[in-house]
């Protein structure tokens, strides 16, 4: 299949895409009020990282499957993360009736 | 594992045993603590015999772990080393003795007895280890242990402002530990050649070491191409700052009067008697022993600071209205003379400084013991509220007078023999500073006799119902310390013998 042969897409473009996606995700994580959206934004950043991994597995200095395997690990860990994250969110919502980040400030001075 | 090891460890074992004892075993706590301290003292005495006329340093090393040879041309072995040489032997004996006497002086109804004896034994173990340590690593560890043991003694068992005093103590001395650590690590690196201007030059045969004896043999003779003078300069500055705090020298002294004012009598005996001598010990061991050129270079500074301390302490003591603060400032004043003696950097000066450390330790502890015993009866340390005690308690008053006279350097006491040697050294090297320092000799008489006159002479100001003169446990402590003051005053060669060896080593005269 597509395992061999040259790829016409330049690495620069792929990395730039990942970088933009990462920055959008970061911005979302830093500014959105809703905890769910914050979690989603983090997933966005993870995806950006995954794009890099896959890109380098094909276009890196030493191409190989390692990048793809790591992308798989990342996806798994992200799944675990989202599961636990959402469970925490539910627990927090039960006690505070809110999913807003601003309300989670019991560590204020 | 030899004698010096157990000397430091036996009070530590006592501390652990105290912790393991059941609750409310009041007598057992004291008995265990006393046993640990007594073993340490007995070992110290045994060390004197072993030291003998030949002045063999007694050495034990316990290997702990090795930092592999990634740098500086060899492995760095981290050991627990204990060495008793001419300088440490008298001091460690003093520490062990004061540890024992402090345990004796703990009053019968001491609250939170178990904790008290635990921390006290720990402190005694730590100060023993400080003076018995044979390598910089063990030394620093012991200094830190002493710091936090005394912090807890102060924090848990002091007077009304004990928390403030304890934290001031902790922060000050913690700061000094920072500089000490910097200096010790710096010396390790410098001696191993890490600061050579042209890149690392392994200088120590056998790799880098913390061992004090090897460092002292190597460090002063390193060529400038291996250890540049600027590095030595910075190391010495760090040592001086650490020393000034540890020894409570002006202007970094303000923790001592407060700590002494707030601590109880046994703690004060240890604090004033041995812990404040750590600073001078550092200056002798790591300053004079490893950076002699810098001691020379800083001589004038040290001498001037010595005189300032001497006068500042004396004047401040004159104005004090609390015996404990007065004693604290008096000890600051004494330490000024120690500084002058070290600054002189000749046989008489150095030996005088060492004598003064021991003498000031004994006399400070004695003064604390006597004033503590008086305060236990009268309920106050405040000089204006005392008077005429010689009528009610002639024996204790007599000892107070004796301690004061020793402290002001009356002949045939240890204070005099220390003073005269220091001044012989001082007049050789810094005559002008020594002349000014004479004023301190006069002032010490002024502040001590002023306080004595207000305390024991004159008409009795309080009703003296039920005041017993000294009790047995107080007798023990007071008489032993008094005897020691006289013994050193009349037979100074006793401690002059071991000190002499170290002095000759420091000055590089003969073996």
């Amino acid at each position: 299949m597509g395992g061999a042969g040259a790829i016409q897409v330049p690495a620069t473009s792929l990395l730039a895409l990942a970088a933009i996606l990462f920055c959008i995700g970061l911005y979302g994580a830093l500014t959105r009020r809703n905890l769910i959206i914050v979690l989603v934004s983090i997933e966005l950043m993870l995806n950006a990282a995954n794009i890099n991994l896959v890109t380098f597995s094909r276009l890196g200095a030493s191409p190989g499957l390692h990048g793809q395997v790591f992308a798989l690990f990342t996806i798994t860990v992200a799944a675990a993360e989202i599961a636990v994250g959402l469970a925490l969110l539910l627990a927090a919502f039960r006690t505070r009736r809110s999913t807003h980040v601003e309300d989670m400030d019991q560590h204020k001075w | 594992m030899g004698l010096p090891f157990w000397l430091a460890v036996s009070p530590l074992i006592a501390a652990v045993v105290v912790l393991a004892l059941p609750r409310r075993a009041w007598r057992a706590y004291r008995a265990v603590a006393l046993a640990g301290d007594a073993v340490a003292l007995a070992l110290a005495v045994a060390a004197w015999i072993q030291f003998g006329a030949a002045a063999n340093p007694i050495h034990t090393a316990l290997h702990w772990f090795t930092l592999p040879g990634m740098w500086l041309g060899g492995n760095l072995s981290i050991d627990l080393t204990f060495t008793l040489d001419g300088l440490s032997l008298p001091l460690v004996t003093l520490a062990a003795l004061l540890g024992l006497l402090a345990a004796v002086m703990v009053p019968r109804g001491q609250p939170r007895c178990k904790e008290y004896f635990f921390w006290q034994s720990l402190l005694v173990a730590a100060v023993n280890a400080v003076f018995a340590a044979g390598d910089a690593f063990t030394f620093f560890a012991a200094v830190e242990l002493a710091l936090f043991a005394s912090f807890f003694l102060l924090y848990l068992f002091g007077g009304a402002r004990r928390r403030e005093a304890a934290f001031k103590f902790l922060i000050y001395r913690g700061l000094s530990s920072v500089f000490l650590l910097a200096a010790l690590a710096g010396i390790l690196y410098a001696a191993a050649g890490a600061f050579a201007p042209g890149g690392v030059q392994p200088a120590m045969p056998g790799g880098p070491t913390f061992d004090i004896a090897r460092l002292a043999a190597q460090m002063p003779h390193l060529a400038a191409s291996v250890c540049p003078p600027s590095v030595r300069w910075w190391l010495f500055v760090a040592i001086v700052i650490a020393v000034f705090i540890e020894e409570a020298l002006v202007p970094l002294h303000s923790w001592l009067p407060l700590a002494n004012e707030q601590a109880d009598t046994p703690t004060n005996m240890l604090l004033g008697g041995v812990l404040t001598k750590t600073g001078a010990y550092i200056l002798l061991r790591f300053g004079a022993g490893m950076l002699p050129d810098q001691v020379h270079g800083f001589g004038l500074f040290l001498a001037v600071m010595g005189v300032i301390n001497l006068l500042y302490g004396a004047f401040a003591a004159w104005a004090q209205k609390d015996w404990r603060r007065l004693i604290a400032y008096g000890s600051i004043s004494h330490m000024g003379l120690v500084l002058l003696g070290i600054a002189a950097f000749n046989a008489a000066g150095l030996q005088g400084a060492m004598f003064m450390m021991v003498s000031s330790g004994i006399l400070t502890a004695l003064l604390f013991a006597v004033t503590g015993a008086l305060a236990e009866r009268t309920g106050t340390f405040a000089i204006p509220r005392l008077g005429g005690l010689a009528k009610a308690m002639p024996n204790l008053s007599g000892f107070l007078l004796f301690a004061a006279l020793g402290s002001l350097g009356l002949p045939l006491t240890s204070g005099f023999i220390s003073e005269i040697q220091t001044f012989i050294g001082g007049f050789t090297a810094y005559p002008a500073a020594s002349f000014v320092a004479l004023l301190g000799v006069i002032l010490s008489a002024v502040y001590l006799l002023y306080a004595i006159q207000r305390t024991t002479f004159g008409p009795l100001v309080q009703a003296a119902d039920g005041w017993a003169d000294a009790r047995p446990r107080e007798w023990v402590a007071i008489v032993v310390l008094t005897g020691l003051v006289l013994l050193i005053g009349v037979w100074p060669q006793l401690i002059g013998h071991p000190f002499g060896f170290t002095v000759r080593t420091l000055l590089g005269i003969g073996g």
Binding site: G2, I7, L14, N34, A80 | -
Partner: protein
């Protein structure tokens, strides 16, 4: 830089456009539930990109786990909490400005870094799948080279599963 308008290239541009559009929508929608839908778009776009890059197995996994499981999970979470929630009007607070500037600066820095590096072109000679189909090659690698991490990840999933259940379970009476 000379851009060669090959079919692959055109596909890449379309996919990236879709991903970025979805990502921007994600941040600009007011209603939370729409945002969840937008993230689904991002996930699917990424999957397409992986397949384009010849990582079919990763692409399929992405669709299964992200676009399938995670998006649905998010939907449930939104429904279980405050599903009417709207993201309030964005006010340009100092923090927000700093976040925006920081992200822009990060993008700029990354862009300069990416641009300044001479990236190797895809090597036509090497077949990263060693002649196997992609899924087989990945399977071989997972069970040969990465056995222990693989097992650890499965352990992690179990722990996450149990943990999520315990955390999400409503407290019993009197607890």
């Amino acid at each position: 830089m000379q851009i060669l308008w090959t079919p692959e290239m055109i596909a890449f541009f379309l996919i990236s456009l879709a991903i970025l559009a979805c990502a921007v929508m994600l941040l600009s929608f007011q209603k939370v539930i729409y945002m969840a839908l937008a993230i689904g778009g991002v996930f699917i776009g990424c999957a397409a990109l992986y397949i384009l890059l010849g990582a079919e197995f990763v692409g399929i996994s992405q669709v299964l786990i992200y676009a399938g499981a995670i998006t649905i999970l998010l939907m449930f979470a939104i429904m279980l909490t405050n599903h009417e929630a709207v993201e309030p009007e964005a006010r340009w607070t100092v923090r927000r400005v700093f976040s925006a500037l920081g992200c822009l600066a990060l993008a700029a820095v990354l862009w300069f870094v990416i641009r300044s590096v001479q990236w190797p072109q895809g090597d036509a000679a090497t077949d990263i799948n060693q002649g196997h189909p992609n899924a087989v090659a990945i399977g071989l690698m997972l069970f040969k080279t990465y056995t222990i991490p693989f097992e650890l990840v499965s352990l992690l999933l179990i722990v996450a599963l149990v943990g999520a259940v315990i955390l999400a379970r409503p407290p019993k009476e009197g607890e």
